[in-house]
Amino acid sequence: MRIELTADDMKQLALAQVAQGLPLPDGRQLQALAEQRVMQRILAREAAAFGLDRDDDVIERRLAQKMDFLLADLSQLNPPTRDELAAWYADHAAEFTQPARASFRHVYFSPDGLGGAAAEAAAAAALPAIAGLPASSPALAGVGDRFMFQDYYGGRTAEAVGKEFGPEFAAAVFAEMPGTWAGPIRSGYGWHLVHLDSLEPARVPALDEIEADVRAAWTNARYKEIRERAEDDMRARYTVVIPDLDPADLGLAAPRGASAPGAGLGQ
């Protein structure tokens, strides 16, 4: 039986030490590291000969992970051509959609004081009076109640509007017709008349705008595909037997939070 370290192996041993922030090993230290590595290999082979590598969870996970890295490398081997990427992007455009953005003005009717029903009624009653007004009309100043944040919101996503007003309000605003006053629409604060100035629809950017992101996504998808296929192929070569057991029949106690001193520390 033969164990041979190459010059590259020696270089790696030295590098591993440097990478840990230690100085470059001198000649004697390098020999000692080499001797350790040789002994590690000998012990590993002897252990394998005894079958000690079987049923070791750490070794199994390590080997499984190496297989996984191998598959990940495979997915990088054949980068897509521009045409392949464009075709793939066309199929997956939905994943790259940039959300719609709304710009709107609103008039607020607070339930504080007379209650929610009165606020809704006041809003409904005010709608005809302002229906013909542009969103910038100074006449709006006398309508409704003072709102605690902004009267105008420009270019907001539904998520941002939802964060400020509650998600139901955001959904209702994004469903409005631009250029008209609509409502009453309910938010987490009360009732609103809303003038949707513009609704920039959700859009799929051109491939040129986000090519790097699309390439990364392609590689990731390819990796998943290769892994699934490889796992299916490999599993097909095995007969797998798993007992159908209820956890309660395993005869094990659930892990307990301990009451011994020291446990529960550092939470």
């Binding site: 390590r62 607070s110 509650g166 939470q267």
Partner: protein, 767 residues
């Protein structure tokens, strides 16, 4: 229908006013940015052991931005309302080593020590946890695990994750970590936040280097000198066993002094009001007159030590603020001028902020509904006492590291119990009572006063300061019940508190007995775990001028907004399981927000000449301290009538020969000094406590701490502030050297308002 209802009337030309004010609108443009100061991922040694193996800082930031991530038990969790900013605070101690030891691709897993950290079965969890945890408590670091080659890698990866998640203007990710000092099972943890990730040190200061906060502050001072701005946030004062806010000696046993106070103020700008493991605002026995103090109290010490339990003094923020103003008056410095934040302390990477979205905080130890509702005894803590995470609001110009950090430094921060409630508070001398009818009142408030976290500059005269407060509800949560102002003040070493209702929803009249606004009622259907917003307000705004202001006394003020009652998570999950809500926790809660305080410190001449007696002045005047024998003769088997010379309050103390004492005839209308418990209730119920006479002192107890009383005999006619007639004067050990109690003859009348009563003479039948 609001208490101050003129609020909205004159609010017509909002945009016109804003245009006119134009350029000066900088301060007005401060927005509330909500975020997280305290969350652990699988990189924390204990989180990994609890079963959080998969998700790290990158996933924490994803979760904060609104993306679903896996709970350690495998199911997806999603935040109710995304956050504006976050700092992941994994423990600096053993950061990442457990995770990396279990990751065969890491260099650390190849070290010999790694084999001791591999988690293969349930027994390993216990073994590793005890091993690492005990090494931290005993300050014996495992050398192989604290090598720079390991910890530096993890710290760098943590900061890389923050940099990757940071999107200035949209989402801020801080470089931060938790310093995990836990001496003798007392929680002294601090989260450390850095202003600029480009300047962070090679490695954080860990509790393995020192468990003393003073050493952490020294290290922070050096960082700051090197141009690296940073601040610390103390948390879970409620679990600190009284160590978080000491008043006599520091962690190293040295007397607390000006230098200590300065160091704390320089470094520890903020403290955590509430998190998954309870609130640290106050305790019902520290604040017996605050009917909302009984909220998410957690009686627990980390590690569940045998023979040890919580200490009330030194463990709650309101008491620390009170001690701080008392020390300012008595000693000339205030170590506890802290702002407030909320946090989670979740060990799941993901954080539950809401009652309706509560998935626990400790991976497999509270991650399923049955485990939670079964009351899992998790290291001595019944997990039903856990509650959703707190949240921090910051009033800042923009959502960037610099802007948010500067606001944290000036303490313009607030805490909430979880919902995105916005709360504002300003204090000034010339605020008009109706100032909030103007749309630009915030602008005026900044110009004419100070925001939360600030100091009211003293101004001569007797005029009281005015405060303006506003709260706006979370659009996805309950309406608001009221805003209160909590005032604390001090005189002659005694500190006091009072909670004032300032503005409230609905038509409610303060009680003619105690002046408090009655409860708002409840819309909660407990069996169905639902509520409606048919009561309460969306927004509350008002001003308040302190009716009891004394310009010669140190004081602080903070605002507290309460939601209407809503179902607690245990009520919601009991409904899911079809069982009764547990009785050991409240079925409903009133979510809330707390502002950072505003302080008032009298200028030198306003403070006036001290009128109270001190122990030193008594001794100077020839008073002699009673011995053990003399004390026994004076009180054992007798009663004494006592007058508190600061408040004028009079009461009787019964001293049994068997060592039990009972305070009687307590008038609830007279404020009681700190750390005496609910003596008005105890007086009514006849609830006695133990006392001892030894070492020339009367030794009493409150909240697991000893309070000694020394009694002095004062000769008749003594000068220099001492009593004129012969008598006895007493000093309680937590009153900073003042002797504020005197023995008096039994009073004929006990009332305080009727002054000219006379008992008719003549024969009376014995009752």
């Amino acid at each position: 229908m609001q208490h101050l209802s003129a609020r909205r009337r004159a609010a017509l030309s909002v945009s016109a006013l804003a245009l006119m004010l134009g350029t000066a609108a900088m301060a007005q443009d401060r927005h509330a940015f909500f975020g997280e100061t305290h969350v652990h991922t699988s990189w924390s040694f204990d989180a990994y052991i609890f079963g959080n193996h998969v998700t790290g800082p990158a996933e924490a930031y994803k979760y904060a931005k609104g993306e679903p991530i896996p709970h350690p038990l495998g199911y997806d969790v999603k935040i109710t309302t995304p956050l504006d900013w976050m700092g992941v605070t994994d423990h600096s101690e053993y950061a990442g080593v457990v995770r990396l030891s279990n990751d065969p691709s890491s260099p650390i897993s190849k070290l010999p020590i790694a084999s001791q950290l591999k988690v293969k079965d349930a027994a390993d969890i216990q073994r590793i946890y005890l091993w690492l945890g005990t090494s931290m408590i005993e300050m014996k670091p495992v050398e192989a695990l604290v090598q720079p080659s390991i910890s530096d890698t993890v710290w760098k990866a943590n900061n890389d994750a923050a940099n990757a998640a940071n999107e200035p203007g949209k989402f801020t990710a801080f470089c931060s970590y938790e310093w995990t000092s836990n001496p003798d099972f007392r929680n002294m943890h601090r989260n450390v936040f850095f202003k600029d990730c480009a300047k962070v040190p090679d490695r954080p200061f860990s509790s393995l280097e020192s468990q003393a906060p003073e050493d952490l502050w020294d290290w922070m001072d050096k960082q700051r000198e090197a141009g690296n701005e940073l601040l610390a946030i103390s948390h879970n004062a409620n679990l600190s066993g009284g160590l978080m806010f000491p008043t006599e000696v520091d962690f190293k046993g040295r007397p607390i002094d000006q230098a200590w106070a300065d160091s704390r103020d320089r470094n520890e700008r903020l403290t955590e009001m509430k998190q998954i493991k309870g609130q640290s605002e106050t305790h019902p026995l520290l604040s017996p007159n605050d009917e909302f103090a009984n909220f998410e109290v957690l009686n627990y010490l980390l590690g569940d030590p045998q023979g040890q339990f919580v200490t009330l003094a030194g463990s709650y923020i309101r008491q620390a603020l009170k001690d701080g103003v008392a020390m300012q008056g008595a000693e000339g410095y205030n170590p506890f001028k802290t702002g407030v934040v909320g946090g989670s302390d979740s060990h799941n990477t993901a954080v539950p902020y809401r009652q309706e979205n509560f998935f626990g905080g400790h991976a497999r130890l509270d991650g399923t509904v049955k485990e939670r509702m079964g009351g899992h005894n998790f290291a001595g803590m019944d997990v039903r006492f856990e509650n959703p995470a707190g949240l921090t609001g910051i009033w800042a110009e923009e959502n960037t590291r610099a802007s948010l950090f500067d606001a944290m430094q000036r303490k313009e921060t607030f805490a909430t119990s979880g919902p995105h409630i916005r709360i504002r508070m300003f204090g000034g001398w010339d605020y008009a009572p109706d100032m909030t009818v103007n749309a630009d009142w915030v602008q005026a408030a900044y110009q004419g006063g100070v925001p939360m976290g600030g100091d009211l500059k003293p101004r001569g005269g007797d005029n009281a300061p005015t405060f303006v407060v506003e709260a706006v509800k979370d659009p996805t949560s309950g309406n608001l019940d009221r805003i209160q102002i909590v005032k604390g003040w001090a005189k002659d070493g005694q500190s006091f508190e009072k909670v004032y209702d300032v503005v409230w929803a609905g038509e409610r009249t303060p009680s003619p007995v105690d002046g408090k606004v009655p409860a708002i009622g409840s819309t909660v259907d407990i069996a169905n775990a639902t509520y409606t917003n048919d009561i309460g307000s969306v927004q509350l705004t008002g001003t308040w001028t302190d009716p009891d202001f004394d310009p010669s006394l140190d004081a602080f003020y903070y605002a507290r907004a309460l939601e209407i009652p809503t179902p607690r998570w245990t009520t919601i999950q009991a409904k899911e399981l079809g069982i009764a809500p547990p009785e050991m926790v409240a079925a409903t809660v009133q979510e809330r927000a707390w502002s950072s305080p505003i302080w008032y410190t009298p200028a030198g001449d306003a403070r006036g000449v001290a009128t109270g007696r001190t122990v030193a002045s008594l001794k100077e005047g020839g008073a002699t301290q009673l011995t053990t024998d003399e004390l026994n003769q004076l009180i054992a088997g007798r009663f004494t009538w006592v007058r508190n010379t600061v408040t004028g309050g009079v009461y009787k103390i019964q001293w049994s020969k068997e060592g039990q004492m009972l305070i009687m005839n307590v008038d609830p209308r007279i404020p009681q000094p700190s750390e005496v418990g609910d003596i008005a209730q105890g007086s009514y119920l006849g609830h006695s406590t133990a006392y001892q006479i030894r070492d020339d002192r009367i030794v009493t107890n409150f909240g697991n701490r000893e309070y000694d009383i020394a009694v002095y005999k004062v000769a008749g006619g003594a000068a220099g502030g001492a009593a004129k007639a012969e008598g006895y004067v007493a000093a309680r050990s937590n009153e900073f050297g003042f002797a504020n109690y005197e023995l008096i003859p039994a009073p004929v009348f006990l009332g305080t308002e009727v002054k000219d009563a006379v008992v008719p003479t003549g024969p009376v039948a014995h009752p």
